[in-house]
Amino acid sequence: MSFPKGLSLSQAPPFIVVSGFFITACLLWFLGSLLEIYALLTNRLSIPLLTHITTVGFALFTMFGALFQMLPVVAGAVIQKPKQKAFISWLLLLTGYLLLLFGFYLSSFSALLAGASLLFTGIAYTSLLMLNRLMRIKSYTPTSQGIKFALLFVLIGGFSGFLTALSYGGYIDNTEAFLKVHRLFMLFGWIFLLITSVSFQVVEMFFVTRAYPRLYAMNFPYLLTFALIFSLFEFKLSNLPLSMLVFFQALITLHRLFTRKRKIADKSLYFWYLSHIHLLIAVILLVFDGLSHRFLSVYFLFFSTLITGMMLRIIPFLVWFHLSNEGSLKVPLMSEVIDQKLINLCLLLSFALSLSVYLLPIIGLALIPAFMHSALSFLLSYSVIRGSFLYFRLSPLYNPSK
């Protein structure tokens, strides 16, 4: 009789693996916001700089951290020695990210290339590590199926990003083509697909909604692949299939949330509503504007709002879960890990940030969204660090007397 290798439902990674990625993501997002303000004041803010602060500094770190936690749960794929492997991944991604950012900020090609190389190495290491475990296991659900595709797409997106960096230095041609592949595969193949794959599981279970149609959900990665390839061609409305697919997914998710059976409206629900409204607006902009600055800024709101809401829920659960499993004498409930008032304030700031981004064309003062970004990321960092430290204070593993 054969079983998937490494199948064990007990081997969730140590708390420090996931919290390490989450804390790093929050701090990088906050420090990035300070750089954003400084760059604005000194007229050095560029779109690539702004983009990578949110897509890499915040989203990539959070998503890889979440995957370390999710793989054993959703697919039974256990990564052996998770602390060591997560540290290698974290170090490569962090050094790559910092060098890349300096490369963009100082317009230094050598820093940019070194950063892109390290970042791609980190992405390749992490995604191949995870794919290696996942590919040995049959996907029974849309979530594990979607994660496989998302990891493949982040690899393609990372490689095309590295090639884009090489083309900036004149080593190879076709900058625009590489950049397009990089943007499409990172924004939709990676970020959107991973969020969607998780939604297929989380929306139904956490909010007690109707399930997504199984045929649709299982085939979603194939539909997205087709739409992404279509978008790579250069003709009018080539983004239409992609936009329609994303629009439909946002609508179906909102519909399920509105008609949920679990009527109590906890705050994470509002983060979901807000983020998916941003997604609807972003894809409308995609049809008419392509991957424009306006599209990007609204698309950033989509995933940063959702990640913020999910992180404020995941950290308290993990603190409770690990302390409970470790037999700690004092196990706080989720509501005691991150104060509800902090969550409310994060939600309020997410609304304020969204509003300031939408009103930017009218007001014209980019410092306002930059300050909102700063305030939100500071508060999120504070909440996540405070919640995580509670674990380290109470865990018998770190305090044998407890």
Binding site: L7, L9, V74, A75, Y140, M205, L333
Partner: protein, 142 residues
């Protein structure tokens, strides 16, 4: 005829629906109705655990020889869930809305990640290696 996955997944969803009802009643302060709804939720959930612990897990362990593996983890999580159900019941008796909802939130996430593991890993494996109609029949008769 149901597969094991279909049969037990359906029960997960029924328990979710029952919990959603209790939560709504507690939130609106309808304590008497909430108590009745809680009894239904608790009964259904504990019966589901019983089916797994007394029928499914022993069948799986007997067939595969894996005793300290996934089924052991599932039993541990059942114990955690039972403890949370007990705390919710105490909060309900005291009509303590805040503690009930807070404990319920922790319960909900625990049980959902537990269900994910069962539905995506354990049940399909059980379907693969056990005689599904026979096992479902045994669970039905409990």
């Amino acid at each position: 005829m149901f597969t094991i996955t279909e049969y037990l997944t359906e029960e997960h969803r029924e328990c979710d629906d029952l919990y959603a009802r209790v939560e709504e009643l507690v939130n609106s302060g309808s304590w008497e109705e909430a108590r009745k709804a809680f009894e239904a939720f608790k009964g259904e959930t504990l019966r589901h655990f019983q089916k797994e612990e007394e029928v499914l897990f022993p069948e799986f362990e007997g067939r595969t020889g894996i005793v300290m593996g996934p089924t052991q983890v599932m039993r541990m999580e059942h114990a955690q869930a039972r403890e949370l159900i007990q705390r919710m019941e105490q909060a309900l008796e005291k009509r303590d809305r805040k503690t009930f909802l807070s404990t319920g939130e922790t319960f909900m996430i625990l049980i959902q990640q537990h269900n994910m593991k069962e539905e995506q890993i354990l049940y399909p494996m059980c379907d693969q290696h056990l005689d599904a109609p026979e096992v479902v029949q045994k669970m039905e008769t409990l």
